[in-house]
Subunit: 450 residues, 2 copies
């Protein structure tokens, strides 16, 4: 039996990055995948949704180009073709992961892993032995026990990605990132969309002012906030509204996107600490078993693909030598890729308040920006907010709502990681014309001295 | 006669920012503009070209959406409508500058300024007096004395922005940023475009590998490099090619974009040092006259709108108190907004070599990236290059060619200004999926340790 330096279970953005990084260090690595390379992110999450949202944005461009000088007739959208393009994207990315595993000499085994103990796992009839184990088993959609939630037209985010016909109406239960991205997609392609959210606002990680604008900008979508879904029938979704009154909304299709649960099944006999969020880890991604690490959704600390990848790097660094490396959560960006886009890094004001950190903030309107005006006009809306520590002027949060948000936000994470102050950002030269200039504008609004 | 703290000549991105920042400090500011608010950038440069390029991109989206599921018939492009939208954008931005001047209590005078001495300028019949003077008079297209360059169909970038009919063919003389952006625009809307460039490569600030790919990606455009234009006739442009042979290319329209010259006329009697590039300044933007500053194109140090704005801040800071502020050029980003986009910040390898700085670099292909694949497919091309100091691993240059380049690059300027190292960037979490992740990938390619 070959002895591996590292065994990794799950080949999503946590697992495959762990295998790749450890392989690049010259370690003998085993990667076990029960389904296909790439996990939820590649196959049923980040990638397919972004592919579909891009198709929908192209559709809107073709429909709305007249003011820019572009006329098009008979513009139609084929969901089947958009799904086919999405599948092609996924296949290419899976091949990319396969190539990376080969390039880094990772042994890949397909099949369901059974964890025997901290150093042994079984796949099919074969047992594998390793010095270290990284659990990267991910998460699955959580379906709450609402009457009717098992009806055929009630789908999770996994299932809705296989539709080939545009539904006439869709009720989205849960206004988190997944719910809002699908709401944006289906409303763009002509479905009548309603979002029902239990909390008083959608997108909990988002600044309240931004979430409100996001709802307003998702023009085709009806929102019912503070509402509890009571029952789903073949024709409608019944809920209790914020005033306690019974309501119903018709739905030919229902998306259940209330949350995700960690995939901890099969790990029971290991003796791991598991809490409500998932496998308990320290900031090195180490579990209560010193040679077992857990990264990505299965530990429930930050349900984002890029968090999983970073956790992979932290785990591998700690396992193979760099014990100083710690997972830092304070500058991890998030993005919502609907129309409009939104992204953020660092704290919101309400988070700062909860942590007792004194902050100041400034919000600027995107319509003050040259590129935004050229591409969207003066009636379009968008916001940029910069939040700094009240005493040190260190940047602690940047929030964006509008075009390019998802591609601008990495710089915000860099600023926060580097602990730059408002004054430092004011001295950075931003390219003109670009929407990114608004970040500098917000910094000047915080402090107009030179 | 009112005594101003500061007089500014020119209301482009240099002048209006100087007036705004000084006004915000509570200073009495006079701003003189001979034409309209916004200078070349707003009226005949950055903004109109980006508006037109956006229109052309929408046109391409409408034409090429089929693989994404979007079909459109009878797609047409109206240059007149695109120009009208561009004019609306410009008007809105001019109003924005007007508003900023009012908000910051800047006195605005329209008319041609005659500089009497370092403290007195005359506009029409009125003489104004001020403690400090900032020259922000910009630049104009340079038309070389080539036979035929004054023919009616030979236009500068100013004039080409008033076309309302799509030309059948266009010869662009000069493959700098202005030439390439117009080449990209006109080729996207169906004009047969040829670029004739005297140097051996287009876009001199761009990495050689990137410039080559840019030419390949500008699919509808013919390039003739190392060629000297000899004569323009009503039917064709005649040139000597790189082998010394006489050639000609037919042209219904010619764009002359070989360079720009500083607007120093009317400044002669001041006694300023003026060199080949323009008004000589130190790194505080101060001329040889201690109370006279020159910013933006007129000093010729960096012909970019955002450089002008930063120079404005440096000049105003030095005039009104912060004598530590210096202009730094090493991290100023540039962007080319054609299809594809490109952007860079910091050094290229050939610049590093000239400066004797030992560097290492890694280039990664955009087609390895999830978002890029989802939006462009595996046959599309794009590059990201990261250059670091060979010994310290400090990032000294980042170069991008592909979608979102212009909105991602600000983070590169931030990294370079903050003197982050490769290792630091590897610890920044980039959002997934985003094209920006390739910057991190390039850093891991430079150093795969954790």
């Amino acid at each position: 039996m070959e002895m591996y330096d590292l065994m990794v279970i799950g080949s999503g953005p946590g697992g495959y990055v762990a295998a790749e990084r450890a392989g690049a260090l010259g370690k003998r690595v085993l990667l076990v995948e029960k389904d296909q390379f790439g996990g939820v992110c590649t196959n049923r999450g980040c990638i397919p949704t972004k592919s579909l949202l891009n198709s929908a944005k192209q559709y809107r461009h073709a429909q709305e180009g007249e003011r820019f000088g572009v006329k098009a007739e008979g513009v139609t959208f084929s969901l089947a073709d958009a799904m086919a393009w999405k599948e092609e994207t996924i296949k290419t990315l899976r091949s990319g992961i396969e190539y990376l595993m080969k390039a880094n000499k990772v042994t890949v085994v397909f099949g369901e892993a059974k964890v025997l103990d901290a150093h042994h796992i079984q796949v099919g009839e074969t047992t594998y032995e390793g010095s270290y184990l990284i659990l990267a088993t991910g998460s699955s959609p959580f379906v709450p026990p609402i009457p009717g939630s098992k009806l055929e037209h009630v789908l999770t985010s996994d299932q809705i990605l296989t539709l080939t016909e545009i539904p006439s109406s869709l009720v989205v239960i849960g206004g988190g990132v997944i719910g809002i991205e699908f709401a944006s997609f289906f409303s763009m392609i002509g479905t009548k969309v309603t979002v029902i959210e239990m909390m008083s606002e959608i997108l909990p990680m988002m600044d309240a002012e931004f979430a409100k604008l996001m709802r307003r900008e998702l023009k085709g979508v009806d929102f019912h906030l503070g509402c509890k879904v009571e029952e789903i029938t073949a024709e409608e979704v019944r809920y209790t509204d914020a005033k306690g009154e019974k309501q119903a909304v018709p739905a030919s299709l229902v998306l259940m996107s209330v949350g995700r649960k960690p995939n901890t099944q099969g790990l029971e006999q290991l003796g791991l600490d598991i809490d409500r969020r998932g496998v308990v880890v320290n900031d090195r991604m180490q579990t209560n078993l010193s040679t077992v690490y857990a990264i990505g959704d299965v530990n429930g600390r930050s349900l984002l693909a890029h968090s999983a990848s970073r956790m992979a790097e932290v785990a591998v660094a700690n396992i193979f030598g760099n014990k100083q490396m710690r997972m830092r959560y304070h500058a991890i960006p998030w993005a919502v890729y609907g129309n409009p886009e939104s992204a953020g890094a660092g704290m919101t004001e309400s988070e700062a308040e909860k942590l007792g950190i004194p902050v100041r903030s400034q919000t600027v309107q995107m319509r003050a920006n040259g590129r935004f005006l050229a591409e969207h006009g003066k009636k379009a809306a968008g916001l940029v907010k910069v939040i700094c520590h009240r005493d040190t002027q260190t940047i602690v949060g940047i929030h964006l709502l509008g075009p390019y948000s998802s591609e601008m936000i990495w710089g915000a994470s860099a600023l926060i990681e580097a602990e730059l102050r408002v004054q430092d950002v004011k001295e950075i030269v931003f390219p003109h014309p670009s929407v990114s200039e608004l970040i500098k504008d917000a910094c000047f609004a915080l402090d107009h001295t030179l």
